[in-house]
Each structure stands twice: as C-alpha cells, then as structure tokens.
Amino acid sequence: MLRQAQHNGIAVEAVDLVKDFDNTRAVDGVSLAVPAGSIYGLLGPNGAGKTTTLRMLLGIIDPSSGTRRVLGHEQPLDVAAEVGYLPEERGLYPSMHARDAIAFIGALRGLPLREGRRRADELLEQHGLGEWARKPIRNLSKGMAQTVQLLGTIVHRPRLIVLDEPFAGLDAINQGRLEELIRREARQGATIIFSTHVIAHAERLCERIAIIASGKVAFEGRVDEARGQLRPIVRLRTRAADGPWRSAIPGSARREGDEWVFELPAGGPEPLLKALIEGGAGIETLAIERPGLHDAFVAIAGRSAAAAMAAEEPVP
C-alpha cells in the first residue's frame, strides 16, 4: 500500500531557516519545499550547511529563526513515528544483535518491539544478511553495519525518509543497491530527502534538488530546471583555422584541444550553422550537448564549490 503524504502536496517545508553556532552562521535563510512522494536531493560541499538543515528539519536542533513544517506539523517530533532518519555519522550499539538494533530503532519510532524483530528478520533476509540477524553489530563489516542502520531507518515504514550522505563509505555495488532501495521506497509513496556531495547520485535519483553553498540555497527546483539555467554547449571542429566564420562564434568561446567550446547562441543552431557554412569554416564535427547537473552546479554554486565537492569524493 502506498504511504501517502498529503499536505497540500508538500511533505517538508522550510522558510528562512537560520542556525547560528556561537558566532558562526551555519545556515543562512534556507527555504525549500519538498513535494510529497518525491526524491529530493540536497547538494553541496562539506560544511555547506546540509546536515545542519536536515537536523533542523528533523527537530534534533531548533533553528535560531525561521519556520519548518514536516508532514504538516511544526514540531517534527510530533510525527517522529512517520519519519526515518539515517545520520551522516552512523552509530549502533556494538553489542546489540543486528535484528535487535533494527527493532530498537523501530521501537524509538513507536513500532512494537516484537513486530520490529519480525520485520527486521524479513528485511535482513531480503538484503542478504539473514545469517547475521543474531550476530552482534561488532562482528559485522562496516558495510553490513551501515545496511543494518539503513534497514532500521525504514523498518517502521515511514512516510518521510531522510538520509544524510547515505552513499558515503559504500562500495559501488552497495551504492547501486541503495539507489534501488531509495527508488523502491519512493514507488511505495515515501518522500525521500537525501544529502550528498556526489552529483551523479542526485542526477540519477532526484526529481528536485536544492543546491546549498555557504549556508544559503543557491538553487531550488527541478533537476531539468537546474540544467535549464545553462545554455546548451557547442563543440565545433573546423578545417579552416581562421576566416569570416569566426564572427559567428561568441567571444567567450574557448579552445579545448582542437575544438572550440562555447554556449549555443540565443538564436539557436540554424543561424549558427548558416554563418559557419557561409563563412567557410569547413565543419568537421559539430556537437550540441545538453548541460549536465555538474555543469549546472558549477554555474550556480561556483567553480570553487564544485571543486570542493569533487575533491571530497570521486564520482563513481
């Protein structure tokens, strides 16, 4: 059965959230709206304010100013039973058995312990960890423990799932499994918010994103809208090194090897092609590329923020 989250179609809303820690402003006026049933990505480099924003949305910390509304409630803990949360810094009791750890996290959200254990056994079996159900967490590998905590996040079948850097520390296979799990939960009606500094995950999964840089929302909207902020990129290779055709390409065009790279002019491809042909360019190849989310991110958050993200973790 689908888990519906109907609050004017918005599952989570933040308006001008601000968080100050001593004399540092970690989050500076973040506003966002997460549609119910969507997969929503918070993008930004480490220290941008993603985790602080999520912690405010979940009620772990209170904002210094601004308002939040989660599943229709101003106090997130009022709907704790309908929310699942995987924190960035994973934590489980080392001596607890895997099934008990999942059931305990569920019990914190109001799921009876017995039912939690039953579901834990099912989930562990589904994720290939059935034989580890009665083993202490300390005996599990890091990836297994991470999976156990993720299963604890969804064991009570929440309407809203918040995942803070869920892909961090996972190998490529487990990253793929996690992507599939996120899609499955979304298909069942859950709203999913996850933060990441790996743009590829957001590009593959998200319908909407918020790009956060230096505590502020630099962009909030659909992924194609983010891409739409950039004009298509033209890659052109010509036989002629120079000639009248050069006036057809913008002054900001740059050389990459033997190619010219520039944004498609406002008039579109036809006037460009005509000018190149009539100007004697001798076109060898001409490609018009749709910009990726990474390009959009660079344009929106700035080259330095993009470089910081790239330095944190290589894109798989």
């Binding site: 979940l58 210094s64 009791y93 607890m96 996290i105 914190l108």
Partner: protein
C-alpha cells in the same frame, strides 16, 4: 507526557537489558565481595603486624612460681581489656649478674623487649623505656596486685546475661546507620560513574543522533536514569538476599538474631531502597547533566571531579547525624536535599517513627522532580547544542548555540 514515558521506557529497557544481561554486571554483583575480602585480608595482616610491633613485651626475671601467679593474673586482666591491649610476658631465670642480664634483655631484638621486671612478687622493679605512670607500668601494677591476691578469682562479679539492653542497642543501631550510609554513598557514586560511561559511549558511537531524531531528548535523560536505577535495585536485592542467606548459614539463630534497626528490618530495607533511589536520582541527574557537556571520558573525569568531592563533603555532613539524629546539624542535614537520603536512612536505623520518614521522602521527591526537570533541560541544551533561546543574566538575549 505519555509519549515521553513511552520513549523513556524504550530507552530504559534497552539500557537495563544491556546492563543486566552483560558479563560486567556479574562483576558488579560480585563487587561487594572485593572490599570485604581485601578488608579481611589486609585487616588480618595489619592486626598481626600491629600486635607484633605495638603490644609491649615485658621480660619477667623471676622464679617459676612467681611467674605462674603473674601470668594467671595477666590472663584475668587480658580477659577484661582484650588480649592485644595487655603487655606480653616472657619469663627468664635470674642470672648471677642481674644488671648485665637486664642490659642484654633490653638490647634483645628477638623478641623486642620494652622493659624488664625483676624482684618477683615481693620486691618488683621495672626497668625499661616506660613511663612511671604510663599504660605499661599501670597494667603491670594491676597484674601484680591481682597476682598477690589469688583469692580475687573466687570473688567474680555475678552476671546475668540478657539479649539486649538500651546501651547495646544504641551502639548496634549506630553501626547499622553507619554501614547504611556508607553503602548508599559508595553505591550511588559507583552507579553515577557507570551512567556517565554509558552516555559517553552513546555520544561517541553517534547513536545519540538517531535517538534524538526520534524521541524527545528528555526521554533519553529519564530513560537512562531509571534504567540504571532498576539495574542497581536488582543488584541490591541480590546483595541483601545473599547477605541474609550467608548470615542464616553462618550465624547461630540466623538473621533473627541481628539487632533490629529502630523501624524494624522490613521497614528499614524498604526505606534503604527508597532512599537509595532518591539519592541516586538526585546525584545521577547532576552527573548526567555533566556528561551531556563532555564528549570524552577525560572531559567527564575532569568535570565530575568537583562534584565527587562535593559529594564526599555532603557524605561527611550526613555522617555527623549518626548518634544524634535530633541535633540541629542532623536536622539541617536532613533538610538539605543532597544529604537528606543518607541522613534519613541513618535515622531509620536509630529512631522509631514513620512520619519524619514519610515527610522526608515527600521532600526528596519534590527535589528529585525539580532536579530532573532542570537536569533534563540542561541536558537537552548541551547534549546536542540545542534548545530554546535563553536569557542572559545581564544584557541582551542571546541565541543559544
């Protein structure tokens, strides 16, 4: 409120199971054995050393007949004063050169001789490192007087023994009060330390983030506090049962023969558990609040040290009430919330009457509620660096971090 209690129960149940079902809880249960065994072992060694070094040895240079009477008199004195308190006597046959014999005996190291008694019963004379009116010479005076009158043995004071008298009861009850206070104090300190360790473990393994996102942080505070209380009450019940069983097996007449506290044993044990609960909740709340501000064991040790010292001072304050439960200082200690449980437990051992106990429990419960509320508030503000805006004592409002 129901949500808070339900959440506290989930956390408390986890903590209780993790504590009681762990191997370390067995060590906790065996804990009281270690001080008893060590105390017994070191006490016996200490007593032996003390008896060797502190009980004076007197060399008696006399005939065998005189010495037998002196030794018999010494036994009577030792029976009255206790064996370790009375000088030991060793007989030596008189030699021709008495002065040289005295010198040699006083220089002897095996055994080390404090003084030499010469002249037998007729003309006794003591030579040695003793004062003329000191305890050693005084004892020998008594012994020689008794030895000169052997008929005194026949004039023993007629005695009829009863099981209890007010004097013996006061002494026994004061001892019960003292032991009760000490157990309360040490157990509370021990458990508060364990509570802190658990909190630090949760903070360091980040599980606290998962908990804080799911339940009010006050529930974490209350759940942890009551879980450890429940675990320690399990421990106390085990100890009381084991102690009673041991006494039943070892002592003739069993637990029936133990001197009863003023409120009786059942009442005293119930009060002991209640006062332990109060004392633990008051102190545990303080420790947990401290733990919320620390992120490492070292920080906790640094922060909790002043509180531990303060608790020792409070323990000393409470101890002054033993023997004088109605003195002004005892009443002051009974009113002061942090010493009240210890003082009132001692009072239960020494004074009958239930209304002061009921009033004290109500008073302490009020303080437990106040301190728990305050502690939970501070805990929430500090454990995750969260909380409502706070008003500074001076100047403008400041947003809390």
């Amino acid at each position: 409120m129901m949500k808070l209690l339900r959440s506290a129960y989930v956390i408390g149940r986890r903590d209780f199971n993790a504590t009681v079902l762990s191997k370390t809880f067995l060590f906790f249960l065996l804990g009281p054995l270690f001080p008893l065994l060590l105390g017994g072992a070191f006490g016996s060694i200490g007593a032996q050393v003390a008896s060797r070094t502190e009980t004076p040895v007197i060399a008696v240079v006399s005939s065998q007949a005189d010495f037998d009477r002196i030794a018999a008199a010494r036994e009577r004195v030792a029976g009255a004063l206790g064996e370790p308190a009375v000088s030991k006597l060793l007989r030596y046959d008189p030699e021709r050169d008495l002065a040289a014999q005295q010198q040699r005996l006083l220089a002897s190291t095996s055994p080390p001789i404090r003084a030499v008694l010469t002249g037998g019963l007729s003309a006794p004379h003591l030579v040695g490192s003793v004062e003329p009116k000191g305890p050693t010479s005084g004892q020998l005076d008594l012994i020689l007087s008794a030895a000169r009158e052997p008929a005194a043995e026949a004039r023993l004071l007629p005695v009829t023994t009863v099981q209890q008298s007010s004097g013996s009861l006061v002494k026994d009850r004061a001892l019960t009060a003292q032991i009760g206070q000490m157990l309360l104090f040490f157990l509370t300190i021990l458990l508060s330390g364990m509570l802190l360790s658990q909190l630090i473990e949760e903070k360091s393994n980040k599980i606290i983030e998962v908990i804080a996102a799911a339940v009010p942080i006050d529930a974490l505070f209350v759940g942890k506090l009551f879980a450890m209380l429940a675990a320690s009450i399990v421990g106390i019940i085990v100890w009381i049962s084991a102690g009673a069983l041991l006494i039943q097996l070892v002592k003739t007449g069993g637990v029936q023969t133990l001197p009863p506290p003023a409120v009786g044993w059942p009442g005293f044990l119930i009060l002991a558990i209640l006062y332990f609960g109060m004392n633990y909740l008051l102190l545990g709340a303080v420790f947990l609040t401290i733990g919320a501000q620390a992120s490492t064991v070292r920080e906790v040790q640094t922060l909790s040290m002043p509180v531990t010292f303060a608790q020792v001072v409070i323990f000393g304050f409470a101890a002054t009430a033993i023997g004088e439960p109605n003195a002004p200082k005892a009443i002051a200690a009974a009113i002061f919330p942090l010493s009240s449980p210890m003082v009132m437990l001692a009072r239960a051992a020494e004074q009958p009457g239930w209304w002061p106990q009921v009033a004290a429990l109500a008073w302490q419960a009020l303080w437990v509620v106040l301190i728990l509320r305050l502690g939970a508030r501070m805990f929430r503000k500090t454990v995750l660096k969260s909380g409502p805006r706070t008003r500074r004592w001076f100047g403008r409002q400041k947003a809390s971090a």
